[in-house]
């Protein structure tokens, strides 16, 4: 799978100074928010456990002279007696109910295997997803043979974490029409700590005509809006997905050009994608509001889409974040 391709900007002297002041101010805010001082640690920093008895040392910790010392940079997590360090750049750790975006890497008997930036591949069983016709029934051998007509290798899919099985494998489910294959758009991969678990991960941005899916695993999908088909009303005319779905491979170049995403939608997709890229490289948590605000800011300041990944916009986004946080702390 692709590695994280992070944006790297080269700043000039004044931009460097501006960015540094912005980051210093941001650090002040975070210091005020975090209640305990040792919430985040660096290597060789002591983790205070308040002389509790029988503390269990977890991942990223070591005992030196009777004190617990961090061996990784990250956030200290405490679960009952267990103390461990969660690194920020770590892989995604799934929880039941998470909405994730993944890529199919293998079509296996009765299941698809998906890459989801977890330490192992996730499994999506044929039986744990709705069939295109929307009828609840046992999966037959024919269904199994037609699995590639649903998802192929390399397809990008949105699904929900069902849970861990007894053997430790991670299972997914896609029992609703909102889950499924994602097309006509781009997939961005960001560090998973930047996407927090929320009520809503699917966002239909009506003003832009765009679907934005913030997968808990750090895969972000930005694509053209697709109307969700309600499987209750499927009648016989609509019941032929093979006919309605365009097959890109068999089309000639001219036919393909007619099915391209309209230019204004594409502009919006690229703008949002670049907003996500800038926010990610600054380490700002991704929420719809912040993304939209960044997009609007780029529009009002007359930045071209490709200039959004440049140095000037990068610094301005950092300064905007300072402004946003200082106004939100004043309200409290």
């Amino acid at each position: 799978m692709r590695d994280m391709k992070e944006l790297q900007v080269s700043l000039n002297q004044t931009q460097k100074v501006r960015l540094q002041t912005a980051i210093q101010q941001l650090e002040k805010f975070t210091a005020r928010v975090s209640s305990s001082a040792d919430a985040s640690v660096t290597v060789a920093e002591t983790i205070s456990v308040n002389h509790e008895e029988g503390v269990l040392k977890g991942h990223g910790t070591s005992e030196v002279d009777g004190e617990i010392v961090a061996t990784l940079c990250g956030v200290v997590e405490k679960v009952n007696k267990l103390v461990y360090v969660r690194t920020l750049r770590a892989r995604y750790k799934p929880e039941t109910g998470d909405i994730i975006v993944g890529r199919v890497i293998e079509v296996a008997p009765k299941r698809w295997r998906l890459e989801i930036n977890f330490s192992q591949d996730a499994v999506l069983m044929l039986s744990s997803m709705n069939l295109p016709d929307g009828i609840q029934r046992r999966r037959t051998a024919t269904d199994e043979l037609n699995m590639r007509s649903i998802f192929e290798e390399n397809d990008v899919i949105c699904a929900e974490v069902r849970g861990f099985q007894h053997d430790g494998t991670l299972h997914l489910q896609a029992r609703s029409q909102k889950y499924g294959k994602l097309e006509k758009g781009q997939l961005l991969s960001v560090s998973s700590y930047l996407v927090k678990r929320r009520k809503q991960h699917f966002h239909h941005l009506q003003d832009y005509g765009i679907d934005l899916i913030l997968g808990c695993n750090g895969f972000v999908w930005v694509g053209e809006h697709v109307e969700v088909r309600d499987d209750m009303i499927t009648d016989d005319q609509e019941n032929k997905p093979e006919l309605s779905k365009p097959n890109f491979k068999s089309m000639s170049l001219e036919e393909q050009e007619q099915t391209y995403t309209p230019l204004d939608t594409r502009q919006n997709i690229c703008r949002i994608a670049n907003a996500v890229r800038v926010l990610t490289s600054l380490g700002i948590t991704l929420t719809v509001d912040v993304i939209i605000a960044t997009v609007e800011m780029s529009k009002t300041l007359n930045f071209d889409i490709h200039e959004m990944v440049g140095a000037e916009f990068y610094v301005q986004v950092a300064e905007k974040e300072v402004e946003r946080r200082s106004s939100s702390t004043k309200k409290k």
Binding site: M1, R2, K5, E6, L7, Q8, V9, S10, R103, I105, E152, E153, N154, D155, V156, K181, L182, E183, K184, G185, Q186, L187, G223, F248, K249, L253, Q256, E257, T259, Y260, T261, L263, R266, Q267, C270, R271, A273, N274, R277, D304, I305, H306, M308, V309, G310, A311
Partner: protein
């Protein structure tokens, strides 16, 4: 290898057809370029160049050697490229060898000119110390640290930056007493002379996707290419080398068309590189 679904491929092709690529660039735009020079103290010249997420290091090492008897008045330059496994898992072991060899050949073709050394980007005569006896051998090494498409252009830019950073020590030769004895050589530590690098070409790769061609393709876009041509063009707009990759053939008229576009793009790239290199050297001097 980049795995893309048919929907994403279609989206990328559509973007190129509509002149708005996935990161908002137009077809002939480059990603942001950043250059750092002189950070390897052991080398005579070094540079790190980043174009988008592609990152390479080039270093120039000079050694005293003997010139080729066929060309007694010219020094020797060799270029090698290595693909680090940090760039992609497929470069592990011998995996990157094919690509390294391909890149090395393309770079040698672009920078070194013909077998006789005529038409090289670097003035080979300036490397001579004693004609027919002593000359400087330049070893130019490229290392690919991270790969997101357009490796050749990035390596070309890195070599250009490294060469302009290179300082060759001045050599004082004490005339040998007898013709059999080797001449005594005294390498000065303080006095360095710089190359004339204005003749070093830049490399512009145009990648053809669908019916259009793009500059500075990312690895995703490269996976959709039908063919790509790398032009190395010098300051006067003359073509120093040409490399074609990809299986499908090109119509001669398309090549001519690409050629004139590449020439135009190279002028802008040359200006940008020159200003970035001088900025990097000013930064280093501080």
């Amino acid at each position: 290898m980049v795995g893309l679904s048919s929907g994403e491929k279609h989206f990328i092709q559509g973007g190129i057809a509509q002149d708005l690529r996935s990161d908002g660039r137009k077809r002939l735009m480059y990603r942001p370029i950043s250059i750092e020079t002189g950070f390897i103290p052991q080398a005579n010249g070094s540079a790190r160049v980043r174009i988008g997420a592609t990152e390479v290091i080039a270093s120039v090492k000079a050694e005293l050697g003997k010139p080729n008897p066929l060309q007694p008045n010219k020094g020797k330059v060799s270029i090698f490229v290595d693909c680090s496994p940090t760039a992609a898992p497929m470069f592990q072991g011998r995996g990157g060898e094919d690509l390294s060899a391909e890149l090395s050949v393309a770079l040698q073709r672009s920078f070194l000119g013909g077998k006789s050394g005529a038409g090289a980007g670097i003035n080979l005569s300036s490397l001579i110390v004693v004609e027919g006896k002593i000359c400087w051998d330049l070893y130019i090494d490229g290392l690919v640290l991270s790969s997101d498409g357009n490796l050749l252009d990035t390596l070309g830019a890195a070599i250009k930056a490294a060469l302009s950073d290179t300082g060759i020590p001045k050599v004082n030769v004490n005339a040998a007493t007898s013709p059999e004895e080797p001449a005594e050589v005294d390498i000065s530590d303080e006095e360095l002379f710089k190359f004339e690098t204005s003749g070093v070409p830049v490399i512009v790769t145009l990648t053809k996707v669908g019916r259009h061609y793009i500059a500075d393709a990312t690895s995703e876009e490269e996976s959709q290419m039908s063919s790509a041509i790398s032009f190395s063009i010098n300051k006067h707009g003359h073509i120093c080398g040409l490399t074609k990759r990809g299986g499908s053939g090109l119509d001669p008229s398309v090549i001519l068309d690409m050629l004139s576009v590449a020439k135009h793009v190279s002028e802008q790239l040359m200006m940008e590189l020159d200003s970035k290199i001088s900025a990097a050297e000013a930064c280093e001097a501080e």
